[in-house]
Each structure stands twice: as structure tokens, then as C-alpha cells.
Symmetry: C3
Subunit: 138 residues, 3 copies
């Protein structure tokens, strides 16, 4: 059982690739076979697995979500922190904040085109906490 | 490996906060570091992590889902159990029914604003079964 | 820790029931209590838990997603592989590609109406890789 806390400073609404941080953590753990769980401790950002090659996928995802849950102060009862507040919670509930990925042959067994991303939904920069937990055998 | 089955009687379509049940289960398990998986055995309700402070977030979530997948008997082929039948399956597929949360220092390591909720999607009251499984070390 | 790789040949856009493969894998593992994680190594298909009894649920889900994220070459910046390319990534992000299910009394503890499905989002046939990982005790 190996656990590590990562802190990611996001620049505001955007996808941030954290694949390298997680694959390095797994490599150093010396676990041959197992699972790595990644957990985001927030309700206005997400943790997703996304295509890692063409940056326009990220633009299309962002535009899709803007249409699906538009920023608005009048459409939602909860808008204390601004028009991007409630849409961020909706985006978080529609995606994920806990992902488990297998470890095989000492490596995080992501598919060729899979990357792990923090999706910051708030417009402003935020500090986001992530806990990665490895369960497995040497 | 510690496993416990919870049964929740829901009052019909609504978010039900089960954070206390899960945090107590983890506290009693005497596990220092690990993971707690929570699994809902149904396809017309969800298990989500949601903002735990402002109750209007729950109203906004419910209204968002009503617009996204409206109750209807004519829009769906599957409506045996009524107009809320198929939308409930859609809501379940768009959200989650299995969540893993890290255990750190003997506690469920939720973020400050994170609560764990059963989201009942059916209009009528239902009995919902949840299995919580803890993996970790003392 | 028992791990197995499954390869599924999908016939194009469709839900494919893989419940039997996973329940058999768990049965043969001789684990009394634990967790089985199922992970799909792709970003244009999903792994979901869905109602397993009425086939029209699958049609309704498919029609819902077609309305929500329509196939289009003009609506998305990313359309290298055709009009079904970007919608497939969106569908994948909105659903799931990693699911953990409890093991209880040597069996995968799915609910009565729960089945595990690969949801192929691309129009063409694809070979999809899934890794199942069991953690538990005899």
C-alpha cells in the first residue's frame, strides 16, 4: 500500500495532463501487478482519461461542456461564487473524480492513446489536491 | 479486507447523503492506509460525490438532469415502469455507481466540500443496496 | 492479485454484454471477498453497468447519446477519423472506462438487473482491450 499526495496548481478552466506524474509514481513504487487509484478531492474539477495526441480533442470537449452546462447566474440557484460555479459541479458529477488503472509488469497499463487529466472547471486558477494509492504485489 | 452491506430506503427522486455511514464504517475498520470502494447494486439510481454545503446545488443538479433526460413515455422505447423509468437508466449511466475513496490516517480522505450521495432517480420510494469494501493495512 | 486481459472484437457502434466473461473470471479466481476492477484501454469506447433485461434500454441509450453528441464533421475541430470520431471521445468521457465491483461469497456481486457492457462508440468494428484485476482474500 503506497500513497502519495500531489498538488496541482491549475491556470483556470483547462485540461492539465498529469500522466507523467502518475506513471513516475507507479514506476518508483516497485509494484509488479496491481491497481493505482487516483482521487481528486474537489467538486468543481474532474479527473478524466482522455485522448492524448490531438489537442483539438480538448477544445472540443470544453466547447461541448460549455453548450451542455452553460455558465450562468440566472439559470442556477447556486451561483454564490459566480456564473461558473454551478456548471463546475455539474461537469464534475457528469465526469469523474476517482479513477483506478491497472498496474501490469511494473507499469501503469494505460492504452496507447490514453492520458490522465485534471479538468479544471472554474475560470480562476485553483490549487487542486490529488491522492494516488497503489495496491499490489512486488 | 472488510466488507459491509448498507440498505438505504429512499423517499423517491432525491439526493440522500450517506457520508456519515461510510466515514463511520471506515473509522471502525482500524485501517490506516488504503481504499474504500462503495458500490450501488442498481441501474436506476446513482452514487455520486457532490458539494456538501449548499442545498441548492442539489436542486440545480436535479433540474439540470430533468432538462437533459426528461421524463417521458413517448420519447423512449423502454417505459414499462412509467415515464421516469428510462431517464433513470440514462442518469445512472451518465453518473456513477462505483466510487473508490482513499483512506489516509485511519480516515476516509474526502475533500472538505465533498459528500457521498445516493441519487434516487425513480419517483417512488425504493430500497437501495450498497456494498462498501475496504482494502488496506493497519 | 489476479489479472487477466480480455480482447473483444466489437461489430461497430453497439453495447456488448461482457458480464459472463467477468463473472467466470471471478469464479475461477477462488477469492472469497474482494474487488474486481475492469479497465478499458481506449478513449472512443466505454465500460458501463446497464440494465440487463430489456434490450430497448440499449436502443434508448444509443438514441439519447446520438442527440446529445451528434456525429458531425463540422461541429468539432477533431474529425480526422470521420464524423463519429469526436462524439466517441465525448461519450467516453461522459460515461466510464474503469469500474470496480465487489466480490462477495466468491462471486461478482452485481445487482439482479446489472450487466457489464462495452459500449463501442465508433461506427466501424474495433478490437478492444480490457484488463480485469482481482484483489481479495481466499
Amino acid at each position: 500500500m503506497i500513497q502519495h499526495v500531489f498538488t496541482i496548481k491549475t491556470p483556470g478552466r483547462q485540461l492539465i495532463n498529469i500522466t507523467r506524474e502518475i506513471t513516475n509514481f507507479v514506476k518508483n513504487a516497485k509494484i509488479a501487478t496491481g491497481l493505482c487509484n487516483i482521487f481528486l478531492h474537489h467538486t468543481s474539477a474532474s479527473l478524466i482519461i482522455c485522448e492524448n495526441s490531438d489537442i483539438t480533442v480538448q477544445e472540443d470537449l470544453e466547447n461541448f461542456m460549455k453548450r451542455l452546462a452553460p455558465d450562468s447566474s440566472s439559470q442556477y440557484a447556486h451561483s454564490v461564487e459566480g456564473p461558473d460555479d454551478m456548471p463546475s459541479h455539474i461537469r464534475s458529477v457528469l465526469t469523474s473524480n476517482s479513477i483506478s488503472v491497472p498496474i501490469t509488469n511494473h507499469q501503469l497499463a494505460l492504452g496507447t492513446w490514453q492520458g490522465i487529466y485534471v479538468w479544471e472547471h472554474r475560470l480562476a486558477s485553483h490549487e487542486r489536491k490529488i491522492t494516488a494509492t497503489i495496491i499490489g504485489e512486488i
